[in-house]
């Protein structure tokens, strides 16, 4: 009986799969980004153990903060953007921070427009992805079976685990993450310190127009390696002061 069920499943699968496949190149994915401050502290190597213990003890379970983001993609490009949280207006501020990551897979180019330490930057470079190591765990995220890959981020000082969909072979993902054989639907930095989870995935048959972000006039243009150097410096400076870098920059 079980065997039969499996056959039916496989047969059904093959019947629908090609159709799914064709549509997969256009869509909108919504991500929830949950930051667990306690775990962020725990995984920050430069903080004293005493600080970590105390923050864990005082914060307990009240340390999670959620934000939202959206990834739009079409056959050649993708655009990741942070969303305003309309439900959480109490905390809102005049948010002039921008965070738009544009990726063009056809030209192998990236163009990011983002605010870093109160200044806006346009970051133009050839596309840089991560050096993923493939593992063999499987799980379902947003209705898709994914397998996992990981790498160690030496600036964040955290292991980053990504779960990518086996049935959507597009090499994109949330935030800076890309370079896997399928769309990344979940990213877990530092064992739960920051988790990006796809909550909804809408595929479209029509081509979604995706444009390069338009920067304001005074935006400074830099390369990705220059930008990474700025982040590295900020993180090392904060570490020297024994302060958590992630209270100041979102990285």
């Amino acid at each position: 009986m079980n065997k039969l069920f499996e056959y039916v499943q496989i047969a059904l699968f093959f019947a629908f799969f090609p159709a799914l496949y064709a549509q997969n190149s256009n869509g909108v994915i919504k991500y929830t980004v949950a930051t667990d401050w306690r775990q962020m502290m725990e995984t920050n190597k430069s903080l004293s153990q005493e600080s970590k213990d105390r923050s864990a003890y005082v914060w307990g379970k009240n340390s999670e903060y959620k934000s939202y983001a959206e990834l739009k993609f079409n056959t050649i490009a993708s655009r990741y953007e942070k969303l305003r949280d309309e439900n959480n207006e109490r905390w809102s501020r005049a948010d002039d921070h921008v965070y738009i990551l544009y990726r063009n897979r056809e030209e192998n180019k990236m163009f990011d427009y983002q605010t870093f330490l109160e200044k806006s930057y346009g970051i133009e470079d050839t596309l840089v992805c991560q050096n993923w190591k493939i593992r063999n765990s499987m799980k379902e995220v947003a209705g898709h079976i994914c397998i996992d890959a990981f790498y160690y981020d030496s600036i964040k000082e955290k292991e980053v685990v990504a779960w990518f969909a086996l049935d959507m072979p597009i090499s994109i993902g949330p935030d800076i993450y890309c370079g896997l054989p399928g769309i990344i639907l979940e990213v877990n930095e530092g064992n739960g310190a920051k988790v990006y989870t796809a909550t909804s995935l809408i595929l479209s048959e029509e081509e979604i127009p995706i444009s390069k972000p338009e920067c304001k006039k005074k935006t400074k243009m830099i390369t990705y390696s220059q930008f990474k150097e700025m982040i590295r410096k900020q993180v090392t400076d904060s570490n020297k002061l024994g302060r958590p870098y992630f209270w100041v920059i979102d990285y």
Binding site: N2, E6, I10, F17, Y21, M41, E42, S46, L47, S48, Q49, E50, S51, D53, R54, S55, A56, Y57, V58, W59, G60, K61, N62, N87, E89, R90, S92, R93, A94, D95, D96, L117, E118, N131, W132, K133, I134, R135, N136, S137, M138, K139, E140, I145, I147, D148, A149, L166, D167, P169, L180, P181, G182, D237, K240, L241, G242, R243, V248, I249
Partner: protein, 920 residues
Amino acid sequence: MASVGKAQITISGQLQDSTNTPVSTATVMLLNPKDSTLLNYTSSNAQGIFSFKNVKNNNYILQVSHITYMPYRVKINPTEEKTINLGMITLAPIANFLMEVVIKEARAPIFIKGDTVEYDASTFKVPPGSTVEDLLKKLPGIEVDANGKIQTMGKDVSTVYVDGKTFFGNDPKTVTKNLDAEAISKVQVYEEKSEQEKITGIADGSEEKVMNLELKNEYKKGYFGKITAGYGYGKDAPHRWMGNGNFNWFNDKQQLSFIGYGNNINVSNLDWNEYMDFYGQSMNSGHDDGNFGFESGNHYGNYIYFSNYSYGGSGFSQNAGGGVNYNYYNKKIKYNVGYFYTLNKTLSDQFANRQTFLQDSTFWRFDTLNNNNTRQNHSFSTRLEYEIDTMNSLIFKANVDYSLMGNRHAGNQLFQNNEFVNINQNHIDNTKDDGNLNLKLLAIYKHKFQKKRRSFAMSAAYDFSDGKGIENIKNINDFYDAVSLSDQIKFIVQNNNNSEDHTLKSSLLYVEPLSKRFSLLGFYNFRINANFNKNFSTDPGNHHQEIDSLWVNYKNTMLYNRAGVSLNYMYNGITITLGGAFQSLILDALSELRTSASEKNSFSYNNFIPYFSANFTLPKNVRLNFSYKFDVKEPSINYLFPMPDLSNTFYKTNGNPLLTPERNHAISGRLSYWNNASMFNVSLSANASFYQSQIVYNQLIEYVNNLGYVTSYTPANVAGGNRVGAYFWTNFPIVKTILTMNLSADANFNNSPVFINSVKNISYAKNWGAHGGFHISVKEILSFYINGGISQNFTNYSIQVDRNQKYMNYNASVSVDWKIYKKTYFEVDYRFTNYNNKELAFNQDIHTLNASIRQVLGKKNRFELRLAAIDILNQSKEIAQVAGINYIQYSKNPTLARYFLLTFSYNMKGFNTDNKNSFF
């Protein structure tokens, strides 16, 4: 080998399942064999065929992944050929229970290593207190029979490991029946090669199924604690001792902490870190009082409330205290219960001189007073927050405080005229014993509606307090006629005060969103208070006969109602509130006297109160706040009918039943900016209060023949008076991470009118101060803090202009934290303070120097030895100079000065050995 050449090759193969059906759309990846780094990928076509063209001729791992098949891995070695064809690869399906039950139903990931599959057991819920066996019964693919025997895929599980280790022998049942299911994070089932196979390397087919249970991370469960004991010596302060200890136990849901301390070195409270460790998660719980008002809509958040945080001051004190705190947290419940006891015994001396100015003369008073104070406090508190569902929540709170106070206040006050000729001398020897019980109960209900941002809250509270006090007053006044004693008046009396207070209050709050940006907030506060005071005095010299003239009973009731609305705008960092409230207070006061008829008075105060506030969170981390409030504060019962204070014949306080509420316009503003890149911070704030009417104590100073100068204070409403203050602060790095500078300045002006002997006297006070400092840190080994400041104080009077005052204060300090060697630290701090007043020819320098050396000991840094020298220059004293409305007072309180202290500490988790700030 990697050196096989730069030749490019093609790797190909074909995928099928066990029924020979081709497997298409599988993800095929080429990985680095060393660390599985992804090098290249492709997917299989409709025929199941895949190929990598033009790849380097290298070692690879080829991995095939598919949503319905077990992953397949194969090693690829360099070849002499141009192509590697892997031929037909048959993929095994993923077991149905894994796909359906684990992945889809429990939404748990499965981990595949070779042919073993493991999964996260914590996603399968079992009731608290369940054993591992109960958990295993729930897990797909695992069967547990009635005898506790475990089977997986039809095979017996022979061994159960815990974190890879044998757990009390080999019988799996000892583990599964004894271990708590909540401790388990992962269940792994795999095949273990037999001992024989491990040695020979030859498979003998007798593979055993074993199970490994992985325990949850350690940080979720644990304990920490510290104990310190010290002994010290000083020439003027022999036998100094101190001891303190704390222990905390916690797991995922519970925190239990104990703390205790005792010393005779003037430390009467917990420090900030101890405070946090003791209260743990309950620190974050709201300091909710249930009094909703204009600001309620914006401030639902958590407050940190310090009830036990301050440093004990002058004199010599002995202290002890301790408590226990328990927190329980889960998704719906936050529960906290705690008890704390404190004991403080302080002995202090005060030497003071005060010059009081009258219209045409002045007189002096010289004090030599001794205070002996004992205070004990028991406090019990509990709080429960229950989230019924996403829409409804409840908070219950109960606090009980019981305090006992004993005080002896004895000494002399010598009064002299402006030519330093004795007028009179008052000998005081008063004792006082008080006991007070306070009970507070509070319940809050909060409801959210389906409509976003619409909310409702109500609160109910009952406060009760009961106080008893007995005062023995002994005042003997010697009156001098020119140089000789001419009269003596004795005033010896015992005072008994009993009070009881009941308050019942309730508040309602409703927020209605009008649009995305506007909302309307309405609130109502109700309070009813009954206060009973029974005061009588007896004459100890006459068999404690009650003194009729000092017998009084007060019965006061107060009814308070306030209803208000405000319109709130909140969007894009801008919050504006505009509102108003109507406030009514009805006071009924009955005073029963023995010597005259009872008096009954009714007062009613009705006021309209406007409110305005604006907050702007502007781009680039600029914040701007502004608020305006019309404050109306009813006179407290103490102003209307003060408790008779008989403790000093020469200073008396009267009541004034004709008082009206204080009214003032309060305006405040604040501007702040910080830059995360340059770490530059600046903040500027200003506030002002303009009084329409304020309650001040008017003074009547009379010279009574054969007694001396008697001052009586009577509260009264006066028009006018204002306060204006401004504060500036900035902090910025000069060399990032090494040298930081801070600067601050403040200025305050205020004037307040008071009637002294019916003559209006306006005193104008003006003070300003500036402060600057550097913090230098060298490679986390050495830290310097250098600070300096100056402040100047002017007081001008509208009468006695020649008594205008100007005094200055300079201070400078240096402190050094130096990590001398791996685990050896040296700390020193020096502070210089100068007070001077040219008009009074007063100039005082105080140098304070403290130093300590400490050594962390033991392999795990669990011990610490510290030698500290406190106030090496032996100059500690509390000196104060106060300019009042019509007097200048200089006072000196000797306090604990030079001593040396040796302490030894044990920390269960080890001491921190890096010299980093514990910023949290």
